[in-house]
């Protein structure tokens, strides 16, 4: 979290017409004694170990298998491999939100629209839907709500081309 990052984020929000969001972050910064610590505490609470309980673990397996590194993680890994990708040594579990987004960005780079849609529809969106609802509902800091909304924005298909979410 530095000046460049914030400026870029603001630019993105401007481009999207997200004035309210920009204001929310700005207000949070002005009100805060230590903005970074606020983010760290909230990050810990939302994604690692939180009171009253971790709000939204950023791993798909937790939603599919009620476990870390469950069968879903294995399936996601299989998918990466089938498209010619692997995880680096220092990587987290394959089903981590970040890795899935990274993978999607690689597919976008490859202009492999078909795989992008398949991965989004089959693996990513079904749990991200639940995850993002949880974060938006529970986040006490605007930053995370906004970031999740951005991910939502960039990964969700428009209605007319939409995928059917697996609500089960």
């Amino acid at each position: 979290m530095n000046k460049t990052y914030l400026e870029s984020l603001y630019a993105l929000l401007d481009a999207l017409g997200g004035e309210k969001e920009k204001d929310a972050i700005d207000t949070a910064i002005k009100k805060s004694r230590d903005f970074l610590e606020d983010l760290q505490v909230e990050y810990t609470r939302l994604f690692i170990n939180g009171i009253p309980h971790v709000v939204a673990p950023p791993y798909g397996s937790v939603y599919f298998d009620k476990s870390l590194q469950g069968k879903y993680a294995e399936q996601v890994m299989h998918y990466y491999c089938s498209k010619g990708y692997a995880l680096t040594d220092k990587a987290d579990f394959p089903d981590n939100l970040i890795h899935q987004l990274e993978f999607l960005s690689f597919l976008a780079e490859d202009k492999d629209q078909e795989s992008e849609n398949e991965f989004l529809g089959t693996y990513f969106l079904p749990w991200f839907e639940t995850f993002s609802k949880l974060v938006k509902k529970e986040a006490q800091h605007p930053f995370y709500r906004i970031i999740i909304t951005l991910i939502d924005f960039f990964t969700k298909e428009e209605k007319e081309y939409g995928v059917q979410l697996n609500e089960a």
Binding site: I48, G50, V54, E74, L87, A91
Partner: protein
């Protein structure tokens, strides 16, 4: 919240180019995904890894792990094992769910809120270790080593415990396994036969198995249970003394529904009867006994009638037990028990068990108490250093021990009282490692007050247990499936079979996930920061295990080659050592001001309207350690309270009714559980499984599930000889729909 644009429009617009470049610069590229050659589908390798040693409980069965593509999918008993064999229990199987529990601690956390009401912030290991090292050093500088206390539990806690005890020099160390569990048993047997007894009874070859409070089947240790069941299969008679019709009582030939707290009277009655009727093993006592005359005289008042009255039993019930034992002596297994910190009169009861074994001549004989001869391995750890200032909270101003027969360490209450009063010295630094003193040690408020007055509290654990809410720094430890440490040795469990010894060592079945670290790394880093770098005995946990194996001429590589377990020829375990003796009357105990002959001391009776709260194990949980495990929770989500059915009818309660509790000090349970009515429990007590109802909301599965029995144990009893806690001297009434219901005890 929605943006003004649609995604498609945005991607098509020029705005994308305007923001994409600066944004990509701003986001650090720490990618975990990389391009790699295409792999064929289904190319994940399935493999079996060896070297696992379970720690879902402390029996430590030998495991292999089935893995698929780096993911542990199943745990099984190691087929090479001559201990647990291919069997593991429900908890062992559920180790997978601990490993991958989303609630597990993952990164070092700093409490930026208050103790007990934490606000966690993820921090770096460097910051966490600096903080721990500096804060503990500050306590040491200001108050001396005596200003630090340690609450350790489990095999990974040994290394840090030795660091603080031997190198830093604090004696304020209180292990739950001693002061809230089996320490009394060990010191009572040491005072009687010179050795801690373990659970070394040759049950497969016994004619009678005698359990006092032991409830095998609810308390499961695989090879221990195998011994027990083999004994029963071979036709051993089973005597179970328990106020409750336990799983063991259900298999018994004689169930003795004894009044809680009176066990010593029962044993004295039996022993006096055996002596008076000359049914004891006079030859054995002549040869190996010491102080028998004083002993016989000391217990002669204990007629069967007197014992029967004290224990609320009939003369016939006690006589039947005594005769069955005598008729089958010496091939009888008098089990020493395991969790024995019951009533604060426990040392004398454990002494009685050892003396009874002696009267029956049941040491080193088939079916008796027989310590098998296992192999030797190294015990590398921190060396004992000389310390300028010696102190011991267990010593009074005349240099006499308050509790002379204490297990190693310092009795918990002495540490807590010193912390609370600042006398004889303040205790301001606290290290908690793998132990959960909130749900283990009686007097939760007392424990909280102890923690409140600390300058610094550090906690190391795998799960966010109740105590972790009180830490300033909370460090995530690797689990037993991700680390090196424990070396398990032993022999085949049926001593009549071919004599064999085994050696196995705990090796990781998977690499640690997240930023979890092991005990050697954490302790060494703290030691460096406290100025003890030169004393560090070993660089890594793996090195420690290698060096300990070297003593037995082994290595980790060799063990792996041998399937995780090395097996070698054993020795005949039934040979009596030359110096063996049974001290019936112990002069040292008498000199220390306690009864040298086993003596019964009555405990407080339940007040009117209350019943005694007794607790025990359930087969699918280990203490409070497994309460968040989702498989085990599903198997037994709550701890129903056992209530005598006749009382239940009078109280208007039926099976499944939801109740809470209030104890004699007016303390209410935070949560509720359900009623289980049964004729299989006495009317003066109620029973529940221990280790439920976590207060920590971070435990999403275990929080508030069932009732935390420890929260109701507010009256603190201490066994005078050992200083260990007696935890079944608290009394409860029920609460239903907000109304308090008296228990008609005199019914």
């Amino acid at each position: 919240m929605a943006f003004n644009l649609t995604r498609r429009k945005f991607l098509q617009s020029a705005s994308l180019a305007a923001v994409a470049l600066p944004l990509s610069r701003a986001i650090a590229s720490e990618s975990g995904v990389k391009r790699s050659p295409l792999e064929a589908k289904g190319s994940f390798k399935d493999e079996t890894v060896v070297g696992g040693i379970c720690e879902m409980c402390f029996w430590r069965c030998q495991l292999v792990g089935k893995k698929r593509g780096g993911r542990l999918v199943k745990l099984e008993g190691n087929p090479k094992s001559i201990d647990n064999g291919t069997s593991i229990c429900a908890r062992g199987n559920a180790g997978i769910k601990l490993l991958y529990d989303p609630d597990r601690l993952k990164f070092p956390l700093k409490n930026v809120g208050e103790r007990g009401n934490p606000k966690w912030k993820k921090i770096s290991w460097k910051e966490a270790l600096d903080e721990c090292g500096n804060k503990l050093k500050a306590v040491e500088d200001k108050y001396g080593a005596k200003g630090i206390c340690v609450f350790p539990h489990g095999s990974s806690a040994k290394y840090p415990m030795h660091f603080f005890e031997r190198t830093v020099g604090t004696k304020n160390v209180s292990e739950a396994s001693f002061f809230q569990c089996r320490g009394i048993r060990d010191t009572a047997y040491v005072a009687t036969i010179g050795k801690a007894p373990g659970e070394k009874v040759d049950m497969p070859n016994a004619k009678v198995i005698f359990l006092l409070g032991g409830h095998f089947g609810e308390n499961i240790h695989v090879s221990h249970i195998k011994r027990y069941l083999k004994g029963l299969q071979n036709g051993a008679k089973l005597i179970v003394v328990d106020p409750r019709y336990s799983a063991s009582a259900a298999k018994s030939d004689i169930w003795v529904p004894i009044k809680p707290g009176t066990d010593t009277a029962f044993l004295l009655g039996i022993m006096n009867y055996l002596i008076a009727t000359k049914k004891y093993d006079a030859d054995f006592v002549d040869e190996y006994g010491d102080g028998f005359e004083e002993f016989a005289k000391g217990i002669e008042e204990w007629s069967l009638e007197k014992a029967a009255a004290a224990c609320d039993l009939t003369v016939q019930q006690i006589k039947e037990v005594a005769d069955l034992l005598a008729d089958n002596a010496p091939n009888v297994s008098i089990h020493p028990g395991r969790h024995v910190s019951w009533y604060g009169n426990d040392f004398q009861r454990q002494r009685s068990l050892a003396c009874l074994t002696g009267l029956l001549g049941a040491f080193y004989v088939k079916g008796g108490w027989v310590p098998a001869i296992g192999p030797k391995v190294g015990k590398l750890s921190w060396e004992h250093k000389e310390h300028e200032e010696e102190f011991n909270l267990n010593l009074n101003s005349d240099d006499e021990l308050y509790h002379p027969f204490t297990p190693p360490g310092t009795p918990t209450e002495l540490i807590r009282d010193a912390a609370l009063t600042g006398k004889p010295h303040p205790i301001k630094g606290c290290v908690i490692w793998g132990q959960n003193p909130i749900q283990t040690i009686p007097g939760q408020e007392k424990m909280k007050n102890v923690l409140r007055q600390m300058d610094f509290v550090m906690c190391v654990d795998v799960m966010p247990t109740d105590i972790t809410m009180w830490a300033d720094i909370l460090l995530p430890e690797v689990s037993y499936l991700e680390r090196y440490d424990y070396i398990k040795t032993g022999t085949q469990w049926d001593l009549s079979e071919k004599q064999q010894q085994f050696i196995s060592a705990r090796m990781p079945l998977v690499s640690p996930l997240f930023e979890r670290k092991d005990q050697v790394f954490i302790t060494n880093e703290i030691a460096k920061r406290m100025g003890y770098e030169e004393d560090i005995p070993v660089k890594t946990a793996k090195d420690m295990v290698e060096k300990n194996l070297e003593v037995a001429g082994l290595s980790l590589a060799q063990l792996k080659k041998e399937g995780g377990i090395h097996i070698q020829p054993g020795k005949n375990p039934y040979n009596m050592p030359d110096d063996f003796e049974v001290v019936f009357f112990n002069e040292d105990i008498e000199d220390a001001g306690f009864p040298g002959v086993p003596t019964y001391k009555p405990v407080e009776e339940p007040p009117a309207g209350f019943a005694r709260l007794i607790y025990g194990r359930v087969p699918v949980h280990t203490f409070n350690r497994t309460q968040n495990n989702v498989w085990l929770h599903s198997a037994m989500p709550t701890n129903p309270v056992w209530l005598n059915d006749e009382l239940a009818a009078k109280m208007g309660l039926k099976d499944g009714d939801e109740v809470g509790f209030i104890n004699q000090d007016g303390i209410k349970s935070r949560t509720t559980t359900i009623v289980k009515t049964t004729p299989g429990i006495r009317k003066d007590c109620v029973y529940m499984g221990h280790g439920y109802g976590s207060a920590n909301p971070l435990m999403t599965v275990g929080v508030g599930a069932g009732v935390d029995d420890t929260s109701l144990v507010t009256k603190i009893a201490v066994d005078p000889e050992t200083g260990a806690n007696g935890m079944r001297n608290n009394f409860v009434k029920f609460i239903k729909d907000g109304k308090i219901i008296n228990i008609p005890t005199a019914a």
